[in-house]
Every structure is written in C-alpha cells, then in structure tokens.
C-alpha cells in the first residue's frame, strides 16, 4: 500500500506538471505568434504599393505571419470586438480605419530595428504594437517573464518530480527488501532445489512492476479527472489563450502520451528498485 501510495502521488504530480508545462508553452507560443507590429498605411496608398511592401516584409527572414488588413476588414474586427455594444459599431464607417500590415518578429530583439526600417517606408503613416500589451518594452517584458516562469516551472518541476521518483525508488527498494526478508525461507528452498536466479527473481520483479503500474494508473486517472473537471473553467478564464486544447480528443491524446511515458518510467523505476533490492539481499546472504 505504501509503495502504491507513493507511486500514485509521484505520477499524479508528474501528470499535472506535464500538463502545466504544456500549457505554459502554449501561452508563450500564443504571445509570440500574435501580430506584434502593425504598420498603419497612408490613405492614398495604392494596391500595388501595398503588395510590394507586403512581399518585401514576407521575404524578410526576421518576420513571420505577415498579413494585410484592409479598411473593411479592420471595421469587421472592430465590430466583432464591440459586438456587446452595437451602438459603438454603428457610429463608425470603414473610412475612419486605416489599412494596415500586421506581422510578428521571430526574435523580439529585432523589433526595434524592424520598426525603424518600416517607419522609413513612404506608404507607412505610423507603426505601432499590439495595443493590449502596451508597446515593445511591455511585450518583450511579458514574453520574457513568461519564458522565465516557464523555465522555472520546468526546472523546479523536474527537480520535484525527480525527488518524488527518487523517493518512490527508495520506497520500492525498502518494500521489496522487506518482501525478500519475509520470503527468505522460500528463496532459500528454491535456491537449494536448483531454481535459477531468474526463476527466484521473477515473482519479486512482477510484484514491483504491478505496484508501479497501479501507482501510475491511479495517479494518472486522478489527474485526468482533475484536468477534465477544470478544463472548461480554464478555457473560459484564459479566453483566446489556448492553455489546454478545447478539442477533447486532442486533450485525450496528450494525456495518453503522458500515460505511456509514465508507464515506461514506472516499469524502469520498479525494475531498477527491485533488482537493486534483490542484489542487496544476495550480498547480505
């Protein structure tokens, strides 16, 4: 029971942490792939000038996700954003929105130089950043902080899971050691009648693997229920940020991949623990 409990705790934490790491990665990716720079175009800009600048930006290796937002499209976006207050959208016409070219930088350190270059383009009126994030320094700061937090979660989480795995290994070692002591008489008899070490060891190894599999399954199932239960709330809370896949099948696939990895780790852990316990017992003999 103790072994199963410790293994359950370990794999519960490991599953939750894996999902947490996945979610923080998703958050970073979300912010990184949002259009970070918006080049507002002058009203008298011709279609051909826009196409030339769009092609130029698209071919720049520092940039990605280049897209043209026409006046009409801008109005549509505005209407969508103010859908809760139709009066606001009724007051505006496409003419008040400037057309723009939106794009992201692959590396935020390039943002300043890119902005300076784009500002020099004759058809560009003004260059701005995603308004909600409040400009270049704020965006760099947010993503930088997210990266840092994710890094700490990964390192801290891995150290914690490593610590739990170490504890599980020790518990398996002690419990299997106790089982060997309890079965010493049986082991001695089997040894005397010519049982091979493999024959003697196999029930002990099977027992340890069973502990691990039960621990993995209960730990994984508990976190699976917790994640399923909290997914709708998380998705609602984070809105556009895809912290968890809204598609249940995709979420299930991720959790099954985690389960597969944990089964593998559990088997390696239990086999290592029991082999160490058996060899300790043989040395004591």
């Amino acid at each position: 029971m103790a072994a199963i409990f410790v293994l359950t705790t370990t794999f519960f934490v490991a599953t939750v942490l894996s999902i947490f790491i996945y979610s923080s990665g998703q958050v970073i990716r979300y912010f990184e792939t949002r259009p970070q720079i918006i080049a507002f175009l002058k009203d008298d800009t011709t279609e051909s000038d826009i196409t030339i600048l769009e092609a130029k930006l698209a071919s720049d290796a520092r940039l990605k996700n280049v897209s043209y937002i026409s006046k009409e499209k801008a109005l549509e976006i505005y209407k969508e954003a103010t859908s809760e207050n139709p009066l606001l959208s009724e007051l505006v016409s496409p003419s008040i929105f400037p057309a723009s070219l939106e794009f992201s930088v692959n590396d935020l350190t390039d943002a300043e130089s890119v902005i300076d270059e784009v500002k020099k383009e004759s058809i560009v009126e003004e260059v701005g950043f995603t308004a909600s994030l409040g400009g270049e320094s704020s965006l760099t700061d947010v993503v930088g902080r997210l990266r840092k937090v994710t890094y700490y979660i990964r390192v801290g989480g891995s150290v914690f899971v490593g610590f739990l795995l170490g504890t599980s290994l020790l518990v398996i070692l002690i419990i299997i050691g106790m089982r060997i002591t309890a079965r010493r008489g049986e082991i001695e008899i089997l040894d005397l009648i010519g049982a091979t070490p493999g024959f003697i060891r196999s029930p002990i190894l099977i027992e340890a693997v069973l502990y691990a599999l039960i621990g993995v399954f209960i730990g994984w199932l508990s976190s699976f229920i917790l994640i399923l239960y909290s997914t709708p709330t998380l998705i609602r809370y984070f809105g556009d940020i895809p912290v968890l896949p809204s598609n249940t099948l995709r979420l299930l696939i991720i959790l099954l991949i985690i389960l597969g990895s944990e089964v593998l780790i559990g088997i390696v852990l239990s086999l290592t623990g029991s082999i160490l316990a058996v060899s300790r017992a043989r040395r004591k003999k």
Binding site: G185, E186, E188, I189, L190, L192, I193, G194, A195, T196, P197, F199
Partner: protein, 236 residues
C-alpha cells in the same frame, strides 16, 4: 557416479572437513555419520555446491562441480534431490504445489506434472493429502512431502541431511523404510545422520567422520546393485 577427492573446507581457522576422499556408485546407499560438528552437513553442502571447497575435487557423473560457474549451479542442483531435517517445504503452498515447484524449477512440461506428482505422492503414501497445506500435516508427512519433491525430478542422487532428526522413532523408522524402498528401485542415496539405531538397522555402507576427517569407511555394503536378485525379492 559421485567422487570426492581430497576435499577440504575451512571457515576461518576452523577446518570443517579435511582431505575427504570417497566414492559412491550408482544405486548405493551411504550413511555419513559422526558427532555433531564432525562435518557431515558440510559434506552434504559441498556436494550440493552450497559451499565451494578450498581444495579437492567433487565429481558427479564425470563432471567436476567445483569448477562450475555460479550460473551452472542451478543445473547441478536440479540433478540432485535434497531432503532436510527441517523439511524445508513452502508453508503457503499445498503439498501438491510444493512438489510441482520442483518440476517448474526443472522446467518439466506442465502436461507431465499431474502424472508425475501422482506417482510420487502414491510412492510416499500421501495421495489423499495432496491438497493439504503443510500446517495441516504431521512431521513424518512433511518429510514424505520433501522426499516426494526430491524424487519427482528423477534425480541422479538423493542427499538427505538428518532426515529423521525431527521425528519420533516410529515415524523415523517408516521414513527409513521409504528411503530403503527408493534405494531398492535404483536411486543413489547419501544420508547424513548421527542416529545410530537407524544406521545399525539399515546395514548400509557407513562413512564415519570425526573432526572433519574420515575415520572409518565400511565400504560398499549391501547396496541394491550388489545384492543377489533373490535377496532383494526376499526383502520385498
């Protein structure tokens, strides 16, 4: 079939056995006797490769088992049936399962188990008790179980270390009758015992050990192979 040649074994400064030399032929019944601590059990354990001698050779069927590697030891033991004073039966398994364990260890195909277990159970007179657990059996029955387990793998030789040590005289006598019966069927038996009454009654070859050395070997006496057929028939 078994030969010990100048075998010595020490534990620290204590010489457990020294320069032991004897040979046992197929079908022989040999008693190894001596006072407590004389070295009888050490000889049994050396033959079973529980101990490795410091010097000398132990040859079973032409093979020097002292040269066997650790991984070859199970194979050696699978050719030897063992019976101990404390029975050494698995307490959580039924009598039948105790015997089946020996077959599983020797990798005997499972479809042969039932027939072989029934045969030895009948031989030791425990056919009706196959599904009993050791805690439900008397000492003599446990020793019969141990003997059945030793016999079921059809060993080349049976080693018995004080098999009557924990039994009353009457039960010991019946166990010895069983050993005698098995020997008459052609099995080689080497038995360590200090039970003088049994040795005197059985009239078999006796190797006497004192302080680790052989002080007397009565030579081959009345083993089944040596006896005229009429005599064996009479005994039956």
């Amino acid at each position: 079939m078994l030969k010990l040649e100048k075998v010595s074994k020490s534990f620290g400064d204590v010489k457990a056995v020294e320069d032991i030399t004897f040979e046992v032929e197929n079908g022989e019944f040999v008693f190894i006797t001596g006072a407590s601590g004389a070295g009888k059990t050490t000889v049994i354990k050396l033959i079973l490769r529980e101990y490795l001698p410091d010097t000398g050779q132990i040859i079973i069927d032409g093979e020097d088992i002292t040269k066997a590697k650790d991984k070859e030891i199970p194979k050696i033991r699978q050719q030897i049936g063992v019976v101990f004073q404390d029975f050494k039966v698995l307490s959580e398994r039924t009598l039948r399962e105790n015997i089946e364990v020996a077959l599983a260890v020797a990798k005997v195909p499972q479809n042969e188990w039932k027939e072989r277990v029934n045969h030895v159970l009948k031989l030791v007179g425990l056919m009706e008790r196959g599904n009993f657990f050791p805690s439900q059996l008397a000492g003599g029955e446990l020793q019969r179980t141990a003997l059945a387990r030793a016999l079921v793998i059809n060993p080349k030789v049976i080693l018995a270390d004080e098999p009557t040590g924990n039994l009353d005289w009457e039960t010991a006598d019946s166990i010895m009758d069983l050993f005698d019966k098995i020997n008459k069927e052609g099995k080689t038996i080497i038995m360590a015992t200090h039970h003088k009454g049994i040795i005197d009654k059985m009239k078999k070859r006796v190797i006497e050990i004192e302080k680790g050395k052989i002080v007397k070997d009565s030579g081959k006496k009345e083993s089944h192979k040596e006896k005229p057929k009429e005599e064996v028939a009479e005994e039956k």
